[in-house]
C-alpha cells in the first residue's frame, strides 16, 4: 500500500502517528523543575496518568502528579469543589511549598476559571499557588512548558529595582544531563546565574523516600521570586522558552535574549559568546579544550558523514540546532519534520539549509505518516528522532538514532548530555555508530574489516 507520496496531500482530518504531545505534559515537566513543587492536573483522573507514565518511562523515575479527579458531576457543575478539595488535600498530605495547577481540555471546555477559583483559597503561610492554562487542543507539549514557566514567572517574580550581574536562563524541555551541562558552561564564567525550571537532581536524583519529601533539585522558589533582580533573561529555544522569557522581561523590565538550545558547534559557540558578553570574562581554558577536541574529532570522522542523508523529526527547539549541526557536518538533512511551528521557523530552517548549500523538505504541523510517505520515495541513511519513530524505522529498514523526547525504550540516555561541545561529541558518536553499524551489517563477511 501507499507506494507513492500522492496520498499524503489528500489528508485534511485524519492525523496519523502524531509528532507532538499535548500541553499538560510540558506543564508537568516544567513544574517538576521547581523545588518542592507539586504539579496538579485539573482534569479527569486518567489525564495526568498518561503523562505520568510517559515521563516516568523516559526518565525511569517515579513521577508524582496529583489530579482534581473531575468526573461526570464536575463536567456538569464545574470543577470548583474538586479543585478546592484537591488543594487542601495536597497541602495536608504532601506538604509542598508550591502547587502548580494546569488546566486540561476537559476543564477548559467546561469553562472552569482556574485562577479565579484558586484566588478564593486561603493559603497556609509560606505556601504558593500558581496556575497555567494549558488546553490540550492548542499547541503542543512545548506550548504547555512555555505556559507553565510563564505562569511561574509572571505570578511569582516581583519587579526589583536593585539589579545584580545575574543571568536568568530558561532552558527548554531537555534531559537532566543537558541542564547540568548548560549550568556547567555558565558556571565556568564564575558569574551568578539561575536556571529555571531546573530538572537536574529531580529526574536524575533518587526518588524521595517519604511522600512529603521532595527531590533535592529544582529551582528554589526564592530564585524565581527574585528573578527581577537579574540583568538578563536568556531563553534557550524559541518555542519552549521564548514566551516565558518575554513575559519575565516585560514584567520585571529586564533585557532578554533568545538563543537556540546549545546543540552542535555553532549554537554552543553562540551560547558561550552570549554569556561571555554578559559576564565580561575571558573564555575558559576548559571550554577551549572541549571545542578543540570536538573540532579535531569532526575533522577525523566527517568523511564518513559527508552527503549522508538523514530525516529529523522532533520538537522544533531541537530541530533547528540539529539541522544546523548536521548541515555543518556535511550531512544532508533531507527531511526536517516538526510539530506546530510558526512560519518564521520554516524560514530559519531554510536559511540554515541554504547557508550550507544543501536542500531538505521542511514540514511543520505535520505527522510521522506524512514523513513515511516521503521516505518511501526518497529513502535516507539515518532517522533522528524520538522513540515513536521505531515502527517507521522497522518498516523502512532505516537505523533510528534516538534523540529528543520521549525515549521510553532505552535506559541511561537522560544521564548524558546532548548540549554543549560534550553533547555534540555524543550526537556525533551516535550518528556515526548508526551509520557504521549499518555498513558493517550490510557488508559481506569476507569484506569486514577491523578498521574503518
Amino acid at each position: 500500500m501507499l507506494e507513492t507520496a500522492k496520498a499524503e496531500s489528500a489528508r485534511q482530518a485524519l492525523h496519523i502517528d502524531p509528532l507532538r504531545m499535548c500541553q499538560p505534559i510540558g506543564a508537568i515537566y516544567a513544574a517538576l523543575g521547581v523545588q518542592a513543587c507539586m504539579p496538579h492536573s485539573h482534569g479527569s483522573p486518567g489525564c495526568c496518568r498518561y503523562q505520568k507514565i510517559l515521563l516516568s518511562k523516559h526518565f525511569q523515575k517515579t513521577i508524582r502528579v496529583t489530579s482534581s479527579m473531575l468526573k461526570e458531576n464536575a463536567a456538569i457543575f464545574g470543577g470548583e469543589e474538586n479543585l478546592k478539595t484537591a488543594v487542601k488535600n495536597i497541602f495536608d498530605i504532601y506538604n509542598p511549598q508550591l502547587i502548580a495547577v494546569h488546566s486540561t481540555c476537559l476543564s477548559e471546555t467546561i469553562g472552569d476559571h482556574v485562577s479565579a477559583i484558586l484566588s478564593e483559597i486561603e493559603l497556609p503561610a509560606g505556601k504558593y499557588l500558581v496556575s497555567a492554562q494549558t488546553p490540550s487542543y492548542v499547541g503542543s507539549h512545548l506550548t504547555g512548558y512555555a505556559n507553565m514557566v510563564e505562569a511561574l514567572l509572571s505570578q511569582l517574580a516581583v519587579k526589583l529595582e536593585l539589579k545584580k550581574k545575574k543571568c536568568f536562563i530558561i532552558p527548554g524541555l531537555v534531559n537532566p544531563a543537558d541542564i547540568r551541562e548548560i549550568k556547567a558552561i555558565a558556571a565556568s564564567f564564575n558569574g551568578d546565574f539561575c536556571v529555571c525550571p531546573d530538572i537536574s537532581d529531580v529526574f536524575d536524583a533518587a526518588t524521595p523516600e517519604k511522600h512529603d519529601e521532595y527531590s533535592p533539585g529544582g529551582t528554589p522558589l526564592s530564585e524565581i521570586i527574585s528573578a527581577g533582580s537579574c540583568e538578563l533573561v536568556l531563553a534557550l529555544g524559541t518555542d519552549a522558552a521564548g514566551a516565558p522569557a518575554a513575559a519575565l522581561a516585560k514584567k520585571c523590565a529586564l533585557p532578554s535574549a533568545i538563543l537556540d538550545l546549545p546543540i552542535g558547534i555553532e549554537a554552543t559557540d553562540r551560547y558561550i559568546r552570549q554569556l561571555q558578553l554578559f559576564f565580561g570574562s575571558a573564555p575558559l581554558a576548559e571550554l577551549k579544550r572541549q571545542r578543540a577536541q570536538l573540532i579535531e574529532t569532526v575533522m577525523n570522522c566527517h568523511p564518513y558523514l559527508y552527503k549522508k542523508k538523514v530525516a529529523v523529526f522532533c520538537d522544533l527547539d531541537l530541530a533547528v540546532p540539529f539541522c544546523e549541526f548536521l548541515a555543518g557536518l556535511g550531512v544532508v538533512p533531507a527531511f526536517v519534520f516538526t510539530g506546530p511551528a510558526s512560519d518564521e521557523i520554516d524560514v530559519r530552517l531554510q536559511e540554515i539549509l541554504a547557508r550550507y548549500e544543501t536542500k531538505g523538505v521542511v514540514r511543520s504541523n505535520t505527522d510521522l505518516f506524512e514523513l513515511e510517505q516521503y521516505l518511501k520515495n526518497e529513502p535516507v541513511d539515518v532517522l533522528i528522532g524520538e522513540v515513536h519513530g521505531k515502527h517507521l524505522a522497522r518498516r523502512l529498514d532505516i537505523p533510528l538514532v534516538r534523540l529528543g523526547f520521549p525515549v521510553t525504550d532505552r535506559f541511561i540516555h537522560p544521564f548524558f548530555p546532548i548540549v554543549g561541545y560534550k553533547g555534540a561529541l555524543r550526537i556525533l558518536e551516535m550518528l556515526l555508530n548508526a551509520i557504521l553499524d549499518r555498513a558493517d551489517r550490510d557488508r559481506a563477511a569476507e569484506e569486514l574489516s577491523f578498521t574503518l
Binding site: 500500500m1 501507499l2 496520498a7 489528508r11 485534511q12 482530518a13 485524519l14 492525523h15 496519523i16 502517528d17 502524531p18 504531545m21 499535548c22 500541553q23 499538560p24 505534559i25 496538579h40 482534569g43 479527569s44 483522573p45 486518567g46 489525564c47 496518568r49 498518561y50 503523562q51 507514565i53 510517559l54 518511562k57 517515579t62 508524582r64 496529583t66 489530579s67 482534581s68 479527579m69 468526573k71 461526570e72 463536567a75 474538586n82 479543585l83 478539595t85 484537591a86 487542601k88 488535600n89 495536597i90 498530605i93 486540561t104 481540555c105 476537559l106 471546555t109 467546561i110 488546553p135 490540550s136 487542543y137 492548542v138 526518588t207 523516600e209 511522600h211 505518516f369 515513536h388 515502527h391
Partner: protein, 484 residues
C-alpha cells in the same frame, strides 16, 4: 530435596484454597480523591487501551485532541494473532481536534477522518473513541458512525468513552460488542469452545494458555479485552462457556452474555499454580465430560510434577520470608496467589473502600496470626482492634502513618507497592519498582509464567545486593572528618 517435602508441597497446591477464594472484583475500585495520588486511568484509557487495542482488525480513531491518541499509541497489549502485516497496527489515528473544532463541533472532521482512513487502509471495522471534549461539545458520534456504515458498507463502532465518565471504559466497549457484534455471524463451532473475558489473554500469557487449552481440548471462540479479532467476536455467541479472569469490575459483562445468549460463566485465574489447577478443574466440571476431565487431570499432573523440582527449590529459598503487598498494586491478586504458592507470607494492605464519601484515607491491613504475635506491644499502644478476623489472619483499620510504622516493624523482605507509589518502599525493604510487570512487559500466567515470577522474586530479593551494601569508604566516613 526429599520426597516428604515434595508430597507436602503437592498437597498445598491441590488442597489449598477453593475456587471461591478467587477475589471478586465487583466492589474493587481505586479511590478517586481529588489531590491524592491515584493509580488508575480514565474511561477513554480503559476503552481504547484495554478493550479495543487487542482487537487486531479494528482501526481505532481517537476523536479528540492529539494528546490522548499519542499517549495511547503504544500497542504492547496488541500482540498476538493476525497482527503481522496489518497496515494500520502500530499506528495512532486521531482527529487532532483543535480549538476551532471545540468551538464549532468536530462531527464533520470525524466523518472526513473516517473517509480518509477508508481510502488509505480499507479496514473492515472502524471504532471511534471519544475523549473528554467530545461529550461536552455535543458531537453526535453515533450519527457519524451510522452514516459512515451506510456510506462504506463497513462496521463502525462509536464508543462514548469520554475520560470523565464514571462507568469504566472497558465496560462501554465490551457491552457494545456483546450487544451488537456478538451474533452478527455464525462461524462453525468446535467442541468445548469458550469465550474469554479478561485482560490477561495477551502476549506470552496467551501463548501459555493456548498451549494448555490445546492439550486439554478447549477452543477459544473469542476474547473480550484479550487478543482477538472482530471476526471472532462476531460468532462469540456460539461459545459454550465464558471464562472470566479479570482484575476489573467486569462481572456484569459475563452476566449479560449469559442473559442474552444463555452461555454460562465461570471465574478463573491462570496465575499461580493452585489457581491454574482450580480453574482447569472448574472448567472441566462445567462441561462434565469424562474424557475432558481425564485430559484435565493429566494436564494438572504434568503441571504439578513438571514444575516440582524448580518450585521446591524456590520454596526452600523463600522459606520464612514475608512480603508486603498493596492491593492497589497492578495485579496484586496474582502476586498474592503466586507468593502463597511459593510459601512467602503476605501482609496485605488495601485501601478502605467501606466509606462512600471518603475525605481522608484509611487502610486495611491483613496480617497473619503468626506475625500479629510479634506486634502485641504496637497493637496495645495504638489501641488497634481487628475489624475482621479468621483462623489465619486479622484485619486492622490503619492510618497512613500506622501502615508505615507496621511495615518498619514487620520488615518485609519485599514490598509490592503498586503504581500509585503511595509507599514506594520503606526502610529495610527491597523496592518493587522494577517488579511491576506492567512496566517491564513481563507476564506471569501459566506454569512458565509462574516460574518466571519465582525467578523475578529471587532476583529482587537476593540479587540486588548493591542496594543495601555500603562500601567501606562511605561507612567509615564520619561527619567532620577530612573532606576531599
Amino acid at each position: 530435596m526429599n520426597n516428604c517435602g515434595q508430597e507436602q508441597d503437592r498437597q498445598t497446591l491441590l488442597e489449598g484454597l477453593s475456587l471461591n477464594s478467587i477475589p471478586k472484583n465487583d466492589n474493587k475500585r481505586l479511590l478517586q480523591i481529588p489531590g491524592v495520588f491515584y493509580g488508575g486511568g480514565c474511561c477513554y484509557m480503559a476503552c481504547r487501551g484495554l478493550a479495543m487495542s487487542p482487537i487486531a482488525d479494528v482501526l481505532v480513531i481517537t476523536h479528540g485532541p492529539v494528546g490522548c491518541a499519542y499517549f495511547s499509541w503504544d500497542n504492547s497489549r496488541a500482540q498476538g494473532r493476525g497482527r503481522q502485516g496489518s497496515p494500520f497496527v502500530n499506528r495512532s489515528f486521531s482527529t487532532d481536534m483543535t480549538e476551532n473544532d471545540v468551538i464549532f463541533g468536530g462531527e464533520e472532521k470525524l466523518a472526513l477522518a473516517i473517509e480518509e482512513a477508508m481510502a488509505l487502509f480499507q479496514p473492515s471495522t472502524i471504532a471511534i473513541c471519544a475523549t473528554c471534549p467530545v461529550g461536552l461539545i455535543g458531537d453526535d458520534i453515533e450519527k457519524v458512525a451510522e452514516l459512515a456504515e451506510k456510506k462504506f458498507g463497513i462496521t463502525v463502532i462509536p464508543l462514548a468513552c469520554e475520560g470523565f465518565k464514571n462507568i469504566p471504559g472497558y465496560k462501554i466497549a465490551d457491552q457494545k460488542i456483546v450487544n451488537e457484534i456478538f451474533g452478527s455471524q455464525s462461524r462453525a463451532v468446535e467442541e468445548f469452545s469458550i469465550n474469554i473475558v479478561g485482560e490477561f489473554y495477551i502476549g506470552s500469557n496467551k501463548q501459555e494458555i493456548d498451549a494448555l487449552f490445546k492439550q486439554i481440548g478447549y477452543h477459544v471462540q473469542s476474547a473480550l479485552m484479550g487478543s482477538t479479532t472482530l471476526e471472532e467476536l462476531r460468532s462469540g455467541h456460539l461459545a459454550a462457556l465464558t471464562i472470566l479472569g479479570s482484575d476489573k469490575a467486569i462481572d456484569d459483562v459475563a452476566q449479560s452474555i449469559e442473559e442474552k445468549y444463555g452461555i454460562g460463566w465461570l471465574k478463573v485465574d491462570f496465575t499461580g499454580l493452585s489457581n491454574i489447577i482450580r480453574s482447569l478443574r472448574a472448567m472441566a466440571d462445567y462441561f462434565g465430560d469424562r474424557a475432558l476431565k481425564e485430559r484435565t487431570e493429566a494436564a494438572i499432573k504434568e503441571i504439578v510434577q513438571g514444575s516440582a523440582p524448580q518450585r521446591l527449590a524456590y520454596r526452600k529459598r523463600f522459606a520464612g520470608l514475608t512480603a508486603a503487598l498493596f492491593e492497589d498494586c497492578f495485579k496484586s491478586d496474582h502476586f498474592q496467589a503466586m507468593l502463597a504458592d511459593l510459601g512467602v507470607e503476605v501482609i496485605l494492605i488495601s485501601q478502605d473502600y467501606a466509606k462512600d464519601e471518603v475525605t481522608d484515607e484509611g487502610f486495611l491491613g491483613t496480617i497473619s496470626r503468626r506475625l500479629v504475635k510479634g506486634l502485641a506491644e504496637y497493637i496495645r499502644l495504638n489501641k488497634l482492634s481487628p475489624e475482621q478476623e479468621n483462623e489465619r489472619s486479622l484485619t486492622f483499620l490503619l492510618s497512613r502513618v500506622q501502615v508505615r510504622e507496621l511495615l518498619e516493624l514487620l520488615k518485609p523482605a519485599l514490598c509490592f507497592s503498586g503504581i500509585t507509589q503511595q509507599f514506594e518502599y520503606t526502610e529495610n525493604c527491597v523496592r518493587s519498582r522494577t517488579f511491576n510487570s506492567e512496566e517491564r512487559g513481563v507476564q506471569y500466567a501459566g506454569v512458565q509464567g509462574f516460574l518466571r515470577f519465582a525467578q523475578d522474586l529471587e532476583m529482587s530479593m537476593f540479587i540486588a545486593h548493591w542496594e543495601t551494601d555500603v562500601p567501606e569508604w562511605i561507612s567509615t566516613a564520619k561527619a567532620g572528618g577530612p573532606q576531599c
